[in-house]
Symmetry: C2
DNA sequence: ATGAAGCGCGAATCATGGTTCATTCCTTGG
DNA sequence: CCAAGGAATGAACCATGATTCGCGCTTCAT
Protein backbone atom coordinates (compact mmCIF):
# COMPACT_ATOMS: atom_id res chain seq x y z
CA UNK A 1 0.00 0.00 0.00
CA UNK A 2 0.95 3.57 -0.44
CA UNK A 3 -0.34 7.02 0.23
CA UNK A 4 -2.12 6.29 3.48
CA UNK A 5 -3.79 9.06 5.43
CA UNK A 6 -0.48 9.97 7.03
CA UNK A 7 -0.50 13.33 8.75
CA UNK A 8 2.08 14.73 6.39
CA UNK A 9 -0.23 14.00 3.48
CA UNK A 10 -3.23 15.43 5.26
CA UNK A 11 -1.33 18.56 6.14
CA UNK A 12 -0.34 19.10 2.56
CA UNK A 13 -3.85 18.46 1.39
CA UNK A 14 -5.25 21.02 3.80
CA UNK A 15 -2.57 23.52 2.94
CA UNK A 16 -3.31 23.32 -0.75
CA UNK A 17 -7.02 23.39 -0.20
CA UNK A 18 -6.51 26.50 1.85
CA UNK A 19 -4.34 27.98 -0.86
CA UNK A 20 -7.09 27.44 -3.41
CA UNK A 21 -9.67 29.20 -1.28
CA UNK A 22 -7.18 31.97 -0.65
CA UNK A 23 -6.61 32.38 -4.37
CA UNK A 24 -10.34 32.58 -4.92
CA UNK A 25 -10.63 35.14 -2.15
CA UNK A 26 -7.92 37.30 -3.67
CA UNK A 27 -9.60 37.22 -7.05
CA UNK A 28 -12.96 38.10 -5.52
CA UNK A 29 -11.44 40.97 -3.57
CA UNK A 30 -9.60 42.32 -6.58
CA UNK A 31 -12.03 41.82 -9.40
CA UNK A 32 -15.31 40.57 -8.06
CA UNK A 33 -17.08 37.27 -8.29
CA UNK A 34 -17.03 37.08 -12.04
CA UNK A 35 -13.26 36.78 -11.90
CA UNK A 36 -13.53 33.69 -9.74
CA UNK A 37 -13.19 31.15 -12.53
CA UNK A 38 -11.60 27.77 -12.17
CA UNK A 39 -8.88 28.59 -14.66
CA UNK A 40 -8.00 31.84 -12.92
CA UNK A 41 -8.13 30.40 -9.45
CA UNK A 42 -5.91 27.54 -10.55
CA UNK A 43 -3.43 29.90 -12.17
CA UNK A 44 -3.35 32.06 -9.06
CA UNK A 45 -2.70 29.01 -6.91
CA UNK A 46 -0.04 27.72 -9.33
CA UNK A 47 -1.85 24.52 -10.13
CA UNK A 48 -3.71 23.13 -13.11
CA UNK A 49 -7.43 23.58 -13.57
CA UNK A 50 -8.15 19.92 -13.17
CA UNK A 51 -6.32 19.82 -9.85
CA UNK A 52 -8.90 22.09 -8.28
CA UNK A 53 -11.34 19.23 -8.66
CA UNK A 54 -9.20 17.02 -6.47
CA UNK A 55 -9.97 19.45 -3.64
CA UNK A 56 -13.48 20.54 -4.40
CA UNK A 57 -16.17 18.48 -6.11
CA UNK A 58 -17.45 21.52 -7.97
CA UNK A 59 -16.94 25.21 -8.33
CA UNK A 60 -19.97 25.84 -6.17
CA UNK A 61 -18.39 23.99 -3.27
CA UNK A 62 -15.33 26.13 -3.60
CA UNK A 63 -17.33 29.33 -3.65
CA UNK A 64 -19.36 28.05 -0.73
CA UNK A 65 -16.20 27.52 1.29
CA UNK A 66 -15.11 31.03 0.43
CA UNK A 67 -18.41 32.65 1.32
CA UNK A 68 -18.91 30.71 4.51
CA UNK A 69 -15.38 31.43 5.61
CA UNK A 70 -15.81 35.16 5.22
CA UNK A 71 -19.22 35.21 6.82
CA UNK A 72 -18.07 33.17 9.79
CA UNK A 73 -15.09 35.41 10.33
CA UNK A 74 -17.08 38.61 10.17
CA UNK A 75 -19.72 37.21 12.45
CA UNK A 76 -17.13 36.15 15.00
CA UNK A 77 -15.51 39.57 15.06
CA UNK A 78 -18.90 41.26 15.41
CA UNK A 79 -19.82 38.98 18.28
CA UNK A 80 -16.59 39.61 20.04
CA UNK A 81 -16.98 43.36 19.75
CA UNK A 82 -20.48 43.14 21.16
CA UNK A 83 -19.45 40.82 23.94
CA UNK A 84 -16.91 43.18 25.42
CA UNK A 85 -19.38 46.08 25.42
CA UNK A 86 -20.83 47.12 28.80
CA UNK A 87 -24.55 47.05 28.00
CA UNK A 88 -27.12 46.00 25.41
CA UNK A 89 -27.14 49.31 23.62
CA UNK A 90 -23.37 49.56 23.57
CA UNK A 91 -23.23 46.01 22.33
CA UNK A 92 -25.56 46.89 19.48
CA UNK A 93 -23.54 49.97 18.64
CA UNK A 94 -20.34 47.96 18.77
CA UNK A 95 -21.71 45.28 16.48
CA UNK A 96 -22.86 47.89 13.99
CA UNK A 97 -19.71 49.93 13.94
CA UNK A 98 -17.52 46.86 13.78
CA UNK A 99 -19.38 45.42 10.84
CA UNK A 100 -19.48 48.82 9.18
CA UNK A 101 -15.82 49.54 9.62
CA UNK A 102 -14.62 46.14 8.49
CA UNK A 103 -16.96 46.12 5.52
CA UNK A 104 -15.73 49.51 4.47
CA UNK A 105 -12.16 48.30 4.56
CA UNK A 106 -12.85 45.13 2.63
CA UNK A 107 -15.65 46.52 0.57
CA UNK A 108 -14.87 44.70 -2.65
CA UNK A 109 -14.63 41.35 -0.97
CA UNK A 110 -17.69 41.84 1.18
CA UNK A 111 -19.67 42.99 -1.80
CA UNK A 112 -18.54 40.02 -3.84
CA UNK A 113 -19.44 37.63 -1.07
CA UNK A 114 -22.74 39.09 0.00
CA UNK A 115 -24.25 40.81 -2.96
CA UNK A 116 -22.68 40.26 -6.32
CA UNK A 117 -24.19 38.17 -9.09
CA UNK A 118 -23.58 34.45 -8.95
CA UNK A 119 -24.99 31.13 -9.88
CA UNK A 120 -28.41 30.27 -8.53
CA UNK A 121 -27.15 27.65 -6.07
CA UNK A 122 -24.77 30.12 -4.52
CA UNK A 123 -27.56 32.61 -4.26
CA UNK A 124 -29.25 30.44 -1.66
CA UNK A 125 -26.10 30.13 0.37
CA UNK A 126 -25.60 33.82 0.26
CA UNK A 127 -29.09 34.45 1.50
CA UNK A 128 -28.37 32.29 4.50
CA UNK A 129 -25.22 34.28 5.22
CA UNK A 130 -27.08 37.55 5.07
CA UNK A 131 -29.71 36.00 7.27
CA UNK A 132 -27.10 35.04 9.81
CA UNK A 133 -25.67 38.54 9.90
CA UNK A 134 -29.11 40.08 10.14
CA UNK A 135 -29.99 37.65 12.92
CA UNK A 136 -27.00 38.84 14.89
CA UNK A 137 -28.22 42.41 14.61
CA UNK A 138 -31.69 41.28 15.44
CA UNK A 139 -30.57 39.59 18.63
CA UNK A 140 -28.83 42.77 19.75
CA UNK A 141 -31.81 44.89 18.89
CA UNK A 142 -34.17 42.55 20.70
CA UNK A 143 -31.93 42.60 23.75
CA UNK A 144 -31.92 46.37 23.75
CA UNK A 145 -35.69 46.44 23.47
CA UNK A 146 -35.98 43.99 26.33
CA UNK A 147 -33.74 46.21 28.41
CA UNK A 148 -35.91 49.20 27.56
CA UNK A 149 -32.99 50.84 25.76
CA UNK A 150 -34.92 50.93 22.50
CA UNK A 151 -38.58 51.47 21.75
CA UNK A 152 -40.79 48.55 20.81
CA UNK A 153 -40.34 47.61 17.12
CA UNK A 154 -40.28 44.74 14.64
CA UNK A 155 -36.68 43.73 15.17
CA UNK A 156 -36.73 41.23 12.31
CA UNK A 157 -37.63 44.00 9.91
CA UNK A 158 -35.36 46.70 11.26
CA UNK A 159 -32.37 44.38 11.49
CA UNK A 160 -32.68 43.49 7.83
CA UNK A 161 -33.05 47.12 6.90
CA UNK A 162 -30.03 47.94 9.00
CA UNK A 163 -27.95 45.38 7.14
CA UNK A 164 -29.17 46.78 3.84
CA UNK A 165 -28.36 50.32 4.79
CA UNK A 166 -24.83 49.43 5.85
CA UNK A 167 -24.15 47.32 2.79
CA UNK A 168 -25.54 49.79 0.31
CA UNK A 169 -24.07 52.81 2.02
CA UNK A 170 -20.62 51.44 2.67
CA UNK A 171 -19.77 48.60 0.33
CA UNK A 172 -22.11 48.77 -2.65
CA UNK A 173 -21.26 50.37 -5.96
CA UNK A 174 -22.92 53.60 -4.87
CA UNK A 175 -20.82 53.85 -1.75
CA UNK A 176 -18.28 56.68 -1.75
CA UNK A 177 -14.95 55.61 -3.16
CA UNK A 178 -12.77 54.54 -0.28
CA UNK A 179 -10.45 57.48 0.32
CA UNK A 180 -8.09 58.09 3.16
CA UNK A 181 -8.61 56.61 6.57
CA UNK A 182 -10.37 59.68 7.93
CA UNK A 183 -12.91 59.82 5.17
CA UNK A 184 -13.76 56.20 5.74
CA UNK A 185 -14.01 56.77 9.46
CA UNK A 186 -16.37 59.67 8.83
CA UNK A 187 -18.68 57.64 6.65
CA UNK A 188 -18.75 54.78 9.11
CA UNK A 189 -19.43 57.21 11.91
CA UNK A 190 -22.18 58.96 10.00
CA UNK A 191 -23.98 55.79 8.97
CA UNK A 192 -23.73 54.30 12.43
CA UNK A 193 -25.27 57.43 13.89
CA UNK A 194 -27.96 57.31 11.25
CA UNK A 195 -28.71 53.68 11.96
CA UNK A 196 -28.85 54.07 15.72
CA UNK A 197 -31.17 57.06 15.42
CA UNK A 198 -33.39 55.06 13.13
CA UNK A 199 -33.63 52.31 15.71
CA UNK A 200 -34.76 54.87 18.23
CA UNK A 201 -31.61 55.78 20.14
CA UNK A 202 -32.17 59.29 21.39
CA UNK A 203 -28.66 60.25 22.41
CA UNK A 204 -27.15 58.73 19.29
CA UNK A 205 -24.56 61.45 18.98
CA UNK A 206 -23.13 60.58 22.38
CA UNK A 207 -23.10 56.92 21.44
CA UNK A 208 -21.34 57.93 18.29
CA UNK A 209 -18.46 59.23 20.35
CA UNK A 210 -18.12 55.87 22.00
CA UNK A 211 -18.07 54.43 18.54
CA UNK A 212 -15.38 56.84 17.51
CA UNK A 213 -13.23 55.79 20.45
CA UNK A 214 -13.78 52.14 19.62
CA UNK A 215 -12.69 52.46 16.02
CA UNK A 216 -8.96 51.82 15.91
CA UNK A 217 -9.12 48.66 17.96
CA UNK A 218 -12.18 47.16 16.33
CA UNK A 219 -11.21 47.98 12.79
CA UNK A 220 -8.09 45.85 12.77
CA UNK A 221 -8.21 42.99 10.32
CA UNK B 1 -41.89 49.00 -54.14
CA UNK B 2 -43.21 47.48 -50.97
CA UNK B 3 -43.05 47.92 -47.24
CA UNK B 4 -42.38 51.63 -47.00
CA UNK B 5 -42.23 53.35 -43.61
CA UNK B 6 -45.98 53.69 -43.59
CA UNK B 7 -47.47 54.53 -40.21
CA UNK B 8 -49.27 51.25 -40.07
CA UNK B 9 -45.97 49.44 -40.30
CA UNK B 10 -44.37 51.67 -37.70
CA UNK B 11 -47.26 51.13 -35.32
CA UNK B 12 -46.98 47.39 -35.64
CA UNK B 13 -43.24 47.60 -35.10
CA UNK B 14 -43.68 49.57 -31.91
CA UNK B 15 -46.42 47.31 -30.68
CA UNK B 16 -44.34 44.22 -31.09
CA UNK B 17 -41.31 45.82 -29.59
CA UNK B 18 -43.45 46.72 -26.63
CA UNK B 19 -44.76 43.18 -26.44
CA UNK B 20 -41.24 41.83 -26.28
CA UNK B 21 -40.31 44.10 -23.39
CA UNK B 22 -43.55 43.18 -21.69
CA UNK B 23 -42.78 39.49 -22.05
CA UNK B 24 -39.36 40.08 -20.54
CA UNK B 25 -40.91 42.03 -17.70
CA UNK B 26 -43.35 39.25 -16.93
CA UNK B 27 -40.59 36.69 -16.84
CA UNK B 28 -38.49 38.87 -14.57
CA UNK B 29 -41.41 39.44 -12.23
CA UNK B 30 -42.29 35.78 -12.10
CA UNK B 31 -38.96 34.05 -12.03
CA UNK B 32 -36.21 36.62 -11.77
CA UNK B 33 -33.58 37.81 -14.19
CA UNK B 34 -32.15 34.42 -14.88
CA UNK B 35 -35.42 33.48 -16.56
CA UNK B 36 -35.07 36.35 -18.99
CA UNK B 37 -33.54 34.39 -21.85
CA UNK B 38 -34.06 35.10 -25.49
CA UNK B 39 -35.76 31.78 -26.11
CA UNK B 40 -38.16 32.22 -23.22
CA UNK B 41 -38.92 35.84 -24.01
CA UNK B 42 -39.62 34.92 -27.61
CA UNK B 43 -41.87 32.05 -26.60
CA UNK B 44 -43.79 34.30 -24.22
CA UNK B 45 -44.24 36.87 -26.96
CA UNK B 46 -45.25 34.20 -29.46
CA UNK B 47 -42.42 34.85 -31.85
CA UNK B 48 -39.24 33.04 -32.83
CA UNK B 49 -35.94 33.65 -31.12
CA UNK B 50 -34.40 35.21 -34.18
CA UNK B 51 -37.20 37.72 -34.46
CA UNK B 52 -36.20 39.34 -31.20
CA UNK B 53 -33.07 40.50 -32.97
CA UNK B 54 -35.13 42.47 -35.44
CA UNK B 55 -36.25 44.64 -32.55
CA UNK B 56 -33.20 44.70 -30.34
CA UNK B 57 -29.59 44.47 -31.48
CA UNK B 58 -28.69 42.35 -28.48
CA UNK B 59 -30.09 40.90 -25.32
CA UNK B 60 -28.42 43.61 -23.32
CA UNK B 61 -30.34 46.27 -25.19
CA UNK B 62 -33.55 44.48 -24.42
CA UNK B 63 -32.74 44.20 -20.75
CA UNK B 64 -31.66 47.82 -20.75
CA UNK B 65 -35.03 48.85 -22.15
CA UNK B 66 -36.73 46.82 -19.45
CA UNK B 67 -34.64 48.20 -16.61
CA UNK B 68 -34.81 51.78 -17.76
CA UNK B 69 -38.53 51.55 -18.27
CA UNK B 70 -39.14 50.34 -14.74
CA UNK B 71 -36.77 52.84 -13.21
CA UNK B 72 -38.27 55.73 -15.10
CA UNK B 73 -41.77 54.75 -14.10
CA UNK B 74 -40.92 54.40 -10.42
CA UNK B 75 -39.02 57.63 -10.44
CA UNK B 76 -41.92 59.46 -12.02
CA UNK B 77 -44.39 58.16 -9.46
CA UNK B 78 -42.06 59.08 -6.63
CA UNK B 79 -41.62 62.57 -7.99
CA UNK B 80 -45.30 63.05 -8.37
CA UNK B 81 -45.97 61.95 -4.79
CA UNK B 82 -43.34 64.35 -3.53
CA UNK B 83 -44.61 67.19 -5.67
CA UNK B 84 -48.08 67.20 -4.22
CA UNK B 85 -46.78 67.21 -0.65
CA UNK B 86 -47.04 70.47 1.29
CA UNK B 87 -43.46 70.90 2.47
CA UNK B 88 -39.93 69.55 2.11
CA UNK B 89 -40.24 67.06 4.93
CA UNK B 90 -43.60 65.81 3.76
CA UNK B 91 -42.21 65.53 0.28
CA UNK B 92 -39.37 63.40 1.54
CA UNK B 93 -41.75 61.23 3.54
CA UNK B 94 -44.02 60.89 0.53
CA UNK B 95 -41.16 59.89 -1.73
CA UNK B 96 -40.00 57.28 0.75
CA UNK B 97 -43.38 55.78 1.46
CA UNK B 98 -44.31 55.74 -2.20
CA UNK B 99 -41.17 53.96 -3.21
CA UNK B 100 -41.48 51.61 -0.27
CA UNK B 101 -45.10 50.72 -0.91
CA UNK B 102 -44.70 50.18 -4.62
CA UNK B 103 -41.53 48.17 -4.20
CA UNK B 104 -43.26 45.97 -1.67
CA UNK B 105 -46.05 45.27 -4.10
CA UNK B 106 -43.78 44.52 -7.03
CA UNK B 107 -40.97 43.13 -4.98
CA UNK B 108 -39.91 40.39 -7.38
CA UNK B 109 -39.75 42.72 -10.31
CA UNK B 110 -37.99 45.49 -8.43
CA UNK B 111 -35.50 43.06 -7.04
CA UNK B 112 -34.82 41.61 -10.46
CA UNK B 113 -34.35 45.02 -11.96
CA UNK B 114 -32.30 46.64 -9.24
CA UNK B 115 -30.39 43.96 -7.47
CA UNK B 116 -30.33 40.54 -9.00
CA UNK B 117 -27.36 38.99 -10.71
CA UNK B 118 -26.82 39.87 -14.33
CA UNK B 119 -24.27 40.27 -17.01
CA UNK B 120 -21.48 42.74 -16.37
CA UNK B 121 -22.71 45.28 -18.93
CA UNK B 122 -26.11 45.37 -17.35
CA UNK B 123 -24.52 45.81 -13.98
CA UNK B 124 -23.34 49.26 -14.99
CA UNK B 125 -26.78 50.25 -16.21
CA UNK B 126 -28.29 49.08 -12.99
CA UNK B 127 -25.87 51.11 -10.96
CA UNK B 128 -26.97 54.18 -12.82
CA UNK B 129 -30.61 53.39 -12.05
CA UNK B 130 -29.91 52.99 -8.39
CA UNK B 131 -27.95 56.18 -8.54
CA UNK B 132 -30.89 57.97 -10.06
CA UNK B 133 -33.23 56.74 -7.36
CA UNK B 134 -30.76 57.60 -4.63
CA UNK B 135 -30.28 61.03 -6.18
CA UNK B 136 -34.00 61.64 -5.93
CA UNK B 137 -33.90 60.85 -2.23
CA UNK B 138 -30.80 62.94 -1.87
CA UNK B 139 -32.46 65.97 -3.41
CA UNK B 140 -35.37 65.67 -0.99
CA UNK B 141 -33.05 65.23 1.96
CA UNK B 142 -30.95 68.19 0.91
CA UNK B 143 -34.06 70.32 0.53
CA UNK B 144 -35.20 69.36 4.00
CA UNK B 145 -31.81 70.21 5.42
CA UNK B 146 -31.87 73.56 3.65
CA UNK B 147 -35.29 74.23 5.15
CA UNK B 148 -33.95 73.35 8.60
CA UNK B 149 -36.33 70.42 8.77
CA UNK B 150 -33.47 67.97 9.13
CA UNK B 151 -30.13 68.23 10.89
CA UNK B 152 -26.97 68.77 8.90
CA UNK B 153 -25.71 65.50 7.36
CA UNK B 154 -23.99 63.93 4.39
CA UNK B 155 -27.05 63.57 2.20
CA UNK B 156 -25.20 61.58 -0.46
CA UNK B 157 -24.36 58.95 2.09
CA UNK B 158 -27.65 58.83 3.92
CA UNK B 159 -29.68 58.72 0.72
CA UNK B 160 -27.79 55.68 -0.48
CA UNK B 161 -28.20 54.01 2.89
CA UNK B 162 -31.89 54.82 2.79
CA UNK B 163 -32.25 53.14 -0.58
CA UNK B 164 -30.38 50.13 0.71
CA UNK B 165 -32.52 49.85 3.81
CA UNK B 166 -35.73 49.98 1.82
CA UNK B 167 -34.56 47.51 -0.78
CA UNK B 168 -33.17 45.03 1.68
CA UNK B 169 -35.99 45.39 4.14
CA UNK B 170 -38.86 45.29 1.68
CA UNK B 171 -37.90 43.61 -1.56
CA UNK B 172 -34.79 41.55 -0.92
CA UNK B 173 -34.77 37.84 -0.20
CA UNK B 174 -34.69 38.53 3.53
CA UNK B 175 -37.78 40.69 3.39
CA UNK B 176 -40.86 39.21 5.05
CA UNK B 177 -42.96 37.19 2.64
CA UNK B 178 -45.63 39.44 1.24
CA UNK B 179 -48.76 38.57 3.17
CA UNK B 180 -52.06 40.32 3.25
CA UNK B 181 -52.42 43.98 2.53
CA UNK B 182 -52.29 44.98 6.18
CA UNK B 183 -49.08 43.16 6.90
CA UNK B 184 -47.48 44.86 3.95
CA UNK B 185 -48.79 48.20 5.04
CA UNK B 186 -47.35 47.62 8.50
CA UNK B 187 -43.90 46.80 7.22
CA UNK B 188 -43.89 49.81 4.92
CA UNK B 189 -45.07 51.98 7.78
CA UNK B 190 -42.45 50.61 10.16
CA UNK B 191 -39.55 51.01 7.78
CA UNK B 192 -40.59 54.49 6.78
CA UNK B 193 -40.70 55.50 10.41
CA UNK B 194 -37.35 53.89 10.94
CA UNK B 195 -35.85 55.70 7.98
CA UNK B 196 -37.23 59.10 8.90
CA UNK B 197 -36.00 58.78 12.45
CA UNK B 198 -32.60 57.83 11.13
CA UNK B 199 -32.50 60.97 9.04
CA UNK B 200 -33.21 62.99 12.15
CA UNK B 201 -36.95 63.58 12.07
CA UNK B 202 -37.99 64.00 15.67
CA UNK B 203 -41.75 63.66 15.37
CA UNK B 204 -41.49 60.71 13.03
CA UNK B 205 -44.49 59.00 14.50
CA UNK B 206 -46.72 61.92 13.62
CA UNK B 207 -45.29 61.96 10.12
CA UNK B 208 -46.00 58.28 9.97
CA UNK B 209 -49.68 59.01 10.37
CA UNK B 210 -49.58 61.24 7.36
CA UNK B 211 -47.89 58.41 5.56
CA UNK B 212 -50.61 56.03 6.63
CA UNK B 213 -53.27 58.35 5.25
CA UNK B 214 -51.37 58.68 2.00
CA UNK B 215 -51.10 54.96 1.43
CA UNK B 216 -54.13 53.86 -0.52
CA UNK B 217 -53.82 56.57 -3.12
CA UNK B 218 -50.09 56.38 -3.64
CA UNK B 219 -49.84 52.64 -3.68
CA UNK B 220 -51.96 52.21 -6.76
CA UNK B 221 -50.11 50.65 -9.65
C1' DA C 1 14.85 -0.04 -3.96
C1' DT C 2 10.24 -0.84 -5.51
C1' DG C 3 5.55 -0.81 -6.94
C1' DA C 4 0.89 0.37 -5.65
C1' DA C 5 -2.00 4.24 -4.87
C1' DG C 6 -2.83 8.86 -5.28
C1' DC C 7 -1.77 13.17 -7.33
C1' DG C 8 -1.18 16.76 -10.95
C1' DC C 9 -1.74 17.87 -15.50
C1' DG C 10 -4.21 20.26 -19.30
C1' DA C 11 -6.28 19.40 -23.58
C1' DA C 12 -10.71 17.65 -24.83
C1' DT C 13 -15.55 17.51 -23.77
C1' DC C 14 -19.94 19.26 -22.38
C1' DA C 15 -23.60 22.50 -21.30
C1' DT C 16 -25.64 26.74 -21.68
C1' DG C 17 -27.43 30.41 -23.94
C1' DG C 18 -26.71 34.34 -27.13
C1' DT C 19 -26.38 35.31 -32.09
C1' DT C 20 -26.60 34.49 -37.14
C1' DC C 21 -28.50 33.51 -41.67
C1' DA C 22 -30.49 30.94 -45.58
C1' DT C 23 -35.11 30.10 -46.37
C1' DT C 24 -39.97 30.94 -46.32
C1' DC C 25 -43.92 33.83 -45.45
C1' DC C 26 -46.43 38.22 -45.86
C1' DT C 27 -47.58 42.90 -46.75
C1' DT C 28 -47.78 46.61 -49.72
C1' DG C 29 -47.81 49.59 -53.93
C1' DG C 30 -49.10 49.34 -58.54
C1' DC D 1 -53.91 40.15 -58.79
C1' DC D 2 -48.89 40.36 -58.81
C1' DA D 3 -44.19 40.88 -57.80
C1' DA D 4 -40.76 43.17 -54.86
C1' DG D 5 -38.62 43.17 -50.81
C1' DG D 6 -38.99 43.44 -45.82
C1' DA D 7 -40.24 40.33 -41.82
C1' DA D 8 -40.31 35.91 -39.42
C1' DT D 9 -38.46 31.56 -38.73
C1' DG D 10 -35.64 28.23 -36.12
C1' DA D 11 -31.95 25.27 -36.67
C1' DA D 12 -27.09 25.86 -36.83
C1' DC D 13 -23.29 28.32 -35.01
C1' DC D 14 -20.28 30.33 -31.65
C1' DA D 15 -18.30 31.79 -27.16
C1' DT D 16 -17.73 31.06 -22.55
C1' DG D 17 -16.49 28.54 -18.81
C1' DA D 18 -17.21 24.35 -15.94
C1' DT D 19 -16.00 19.55 -15.78
C1' DT D 20 -13.78 15.14 -17.22
C1' DC D 21 -10.20 11.79 -17.98
C1' DG D 22 -6.18 9.14 -19.51
C1' DC D 23 -1.48 9.63 -18.85
C1' DG D 24 2.72 10.19 -16.51
C1' DC D 25 4.87 11.55 -11.92
C1' DT D 26 5.33 11.35 -6.61
C1' DT D 27 5.13 9.52 -2.37
C1' DC D 28 4.75 6.05 1.05
C1' DA D 29 5.08 1.30 3.12
C1' DT D 30 7.69 -2.54 2.82
Amino acid sequence: MAYRRTERVVARFNARREAIVEAAKELAAEAGMEAVQIAQVAARANIAAGTVYRYFPSKNELVAALVEGIAARELAVMRHAAMVAPGPLSALAAAIVTFAARSRRQHKLIWAVLAEPVDHDIGALRISCRKTLAAEFEARIAAAIAGANLPEQDSALTSVALLGALLEGLVGPLAPEPGDDWKMRDSVQALTLNALRGLGVVDARARGLVVQAAWPKEAAA
